[in-house]
């Protein structure tokens, strides 16, 4: 069976002052249809660049390798064909719901965009938008449809962002740290919502996060990234029970636990020791 999304030696570099800087150094991973995969790693490990590279959103990035969607390489697509992938095949959610919404447009306008640009009639788009917003837990969705982003709280805004991402019914949702900017209670709500949505629509989810705490309850598989390349991937339980790579071990050990002795220093990934072990 071909996986829905398959990254094969994906490399990305950006122009820097001293020539191109390679940010992704050969990412190889896959997401099967209906599967929920978590991409974890510390800040700067290349998680977000991977997400953006799949949709080719960084205009100054030069990409190589292959990004296969249903077996077709999207890196070779024309800009026009790429637009049919964005939104309709793959939806995207960002970390900060404050910055993710256009402040001068109504949330309804923004939710309807993915449909309107694909020729859906306005009335129909509105009906589906209101329905989806209600499904995502926004009360009075019909009335609030014409409100502006500043009239919504952070958690509600993230639901609007999710609505924009999934209204055109993509097969894959890429959620780039969707809960980082939210408080813990709302985090749990949003994750539950994503899980339910994925189940209802048999939609795959690529969850990008640095929070190992939320991965276990959400994802089927985990890909651990470091310095622009995956160091370990596998089924969630295996990774948590028997981490193979020293970096994964360090990452897991550095998650504070509720039953830790509070007098103990928090553990960090020992970079120096790691370098010796990896190289």
């Amino acid at each position: 069976m071909t996986p829905l999304l398959e990254l094969d030696d994906l490399r990305a570099s950006f122009p820097g002052p001293d020539g191109p800087v390679e940010v992704l150094r050969g990412v190889t991973m896959s997401v099967a249809a209906g599967e929920k995969v978590a991409l974890v790693g510390e800040s700067g490990s290349g998680k977000s660049v991977t997400a953006r590279a799949v949709l080719r959103l960084d205009r100054d990035a030069s990409l190589s390798g292959r990004v296969l969607l249903d077996g077709k390489d999207v890196l070779g697509l024309s800009e026009r064909a790429m637009r049919d992938v964005r939104g309709a095949r793959i939806g995207l959610v960002f970390q900060d719901p404050l910055a993710s919404l256009n402040p001068v447009m109504t949330i309804g306008w923004q939710i309807m965009q993915p449909l309107l640009i694909r020729g859906v009639k306005k009335k129909e788009a509105r009906r589906r938008g209101v329905e989806l917003l209600g499904r995502l837990g926004v009360r009075d969705a019909d009335r609030r449809f014409d409100d502006y982003p500043h009239q919504f709280s952070g958690g509600m805004r993230q639901r609007v962002v999710i609505a924009i991402a999934v209204i055109a019914e993509p097969a894959l949702l890429i959620a780039d740290e969707p809960t980082t900017a939210l408080d813990v209670r709302v985090q749990a709500q949003v994750l539950t919502l994503l899980r339910e949505l994925a189940a209802e629509r048999s939609m795959s989810v690529l969850l990008i996060t640095h929070d190992l705490g939320i991965v276990a309850g959400f994802a089927d598989r985990v890909v651990v990234m470091r310095h622009g390349a995956p160091v370990e991937q596998g089924v969630v339980d295996d990774i948590y029970a028997r981490p193979q790579h020293p970096y994964t071990r360090g990452l897991l050990a550095s998650v504070p636990r509720i039953d830790d002795d509070p007098s103990r220093r928090l553990s960090t990934v020992d970079e120096a020791a790691l370098e010796g072990e990896v190289r």
Binding site: R83, G87, A99, P103, V104, M105, Q151, F152, I164, Q189
Partner: protein, 358 residues
């Protein structure tokens, strides 16, 4: 929203009063004797004294000013000692022509600067960006009178495409309705006169606009760059929208919020700087009237001109406020302070509804 406008109107009145005080005091300390100017070059001392008494100029300053203010409230800007007509009707003759020029220049300004700024932002750092910057800097760098003369030389003299000076061709007349030749031609249903008036308007308007395009284009460029870098633009792109749609429909409105403020200020500055353009192109206008008034030591005409330009300035800024209300929904929120309503700022959230989720 009505309260917002009312508050702006009250502030405007205060601003105008302050303007009146300052200009009146300035005129008092300026050298020259308006009574002598009014009485004429060869007047005797007695005649000057008589004129001075008639105009109230022999009274002390603190008596002249309240009298002047009282007249202002009745719409009486005083009498020009030079034309012997009420200043208000002098200005009424001169202002529409200048307003026509300024509005046309503003139209050209926006029509050139906004697309240029947006394009430069979109292609930032590329050749097109640099080229746009050079063109714009050239427009801002050349002196107005020189640019006016060059445009006359090329378009009127060499190419013969546009008229050299004036406001209407020989033998053509339009009824005076608003005082703006092109608008009057349109209102009186005379398309030939309208196109004639517009052709007379093009070169002076371009000349006047040239110096202002640079600032607007740079403002549009920088605000557009920060908009294009924002998450919501990336997400708009991620919906599959075309680049045009992303930049224009999703982005432009955000970028225009700071630009509208600049445009409002520029309208006032433009009106204050029409004089060179009007003299190069032989147009009636408030600029020429003001310069004459200053040279003639025509106290009330000077103050009147400054006040009227001030009124236009204030009105333009009220228009800008209304435009911003339309552009930026956060301003429409009752109780939302202007400080918290900057497009990039974190909004205050009074009426936030947190829905129960699962």
């Amino acid at each position: 929203m009505a309260r917002f406008l009312l508050r702006r109107l009250v502030t405007s009145v205060v601003v105008l009063f302050g303007l009146g005080v300052v200009t009146f005091l300035m005129s008092q300390v300026l050298p020259g004797d308006p009574a002598r100017a009014a009485a004429g070059r060869n007047a005797t001392a007695e005649q000057v004294a008589a004129v001075s008494a008639r105009l109230g100029l022999d009274k002390p300053v603190w008596e002249q000013f309240p009298a002047y203010l009282g007249n202002l409230l009745h719409g009486d800007l005083g009498t020009s000692v030079f034309t012997q007509r009420p200043v208000l009707s002098d200005i009424g003759d001169a202002l529409p022509s200048s307003l026509e020029l300024v509005l046309a220049a503003m139209l050209i300004n926006v029509a050139i600067a906004v697309p240029l700024g947006v394009y430069a932002a979109y292609r930032r750092g590329r050749a097109a960006d640099v080229a746009a910057r050079l063109i714009v800097l050239f427009g801002a760098g050349v002196p107005v009178f020189w640019l006016g003369l060059m445009l006359q030389l090329v378009f009127a003299d060499r190419l013969g495409a546009l008229p050299l000076t004036g406001q209407l061709g020989f033998g053509r007349e339009v009824p005076s309705i608003t005082g703006m030749t092109s608008v009057d031609a349109l209102l009186s249903g005379d398309p030939a006169a309208f196109s004639d008036a517009v052709s007379h308007l093009v070169l002076p308007a371009v000349t006047l606009a040239a110096a202002f395009v640079a600032v607007v284009a740079r403002t549009v460029r920088s605000s557009m760059i920060s908009v294009l870098d924002s998450d919501y633009i990336t997400l708009a792109r991620a919906t599959g929208a075309s680049e045009w749609r992303v930049v224009i429909r999703h982005g432009l409105r955000n970028a225009l919020v700071p630009v509208s403020t600049i445009l409002g200020m520029q309208l006032g500055w433009m009106l204050g700087s029409t004089v060179l353009v009007e003299s190069v192109f032989g147009r009636r206008g408030i600029g020429a009237y003001a310069v004459n008034a200053v040279l003639q030591n025509d106290l009330y005409a000077v103050i009147g001109t400054v006040l009227v330009i001030g009124v236009v300035f204030v009105l333009a800024n009220i228009v800008v406020d209304v435009v911003q209300l339309w552009l930026n929904p956060r301003l429409r929120q009752p109780g939302g302070s202007r400080a918290s309503a900057a497009p990039a700022a974190e909004p205050v959230e009074p009426g936030v509804v947190e829905g129960a989720a699962t």
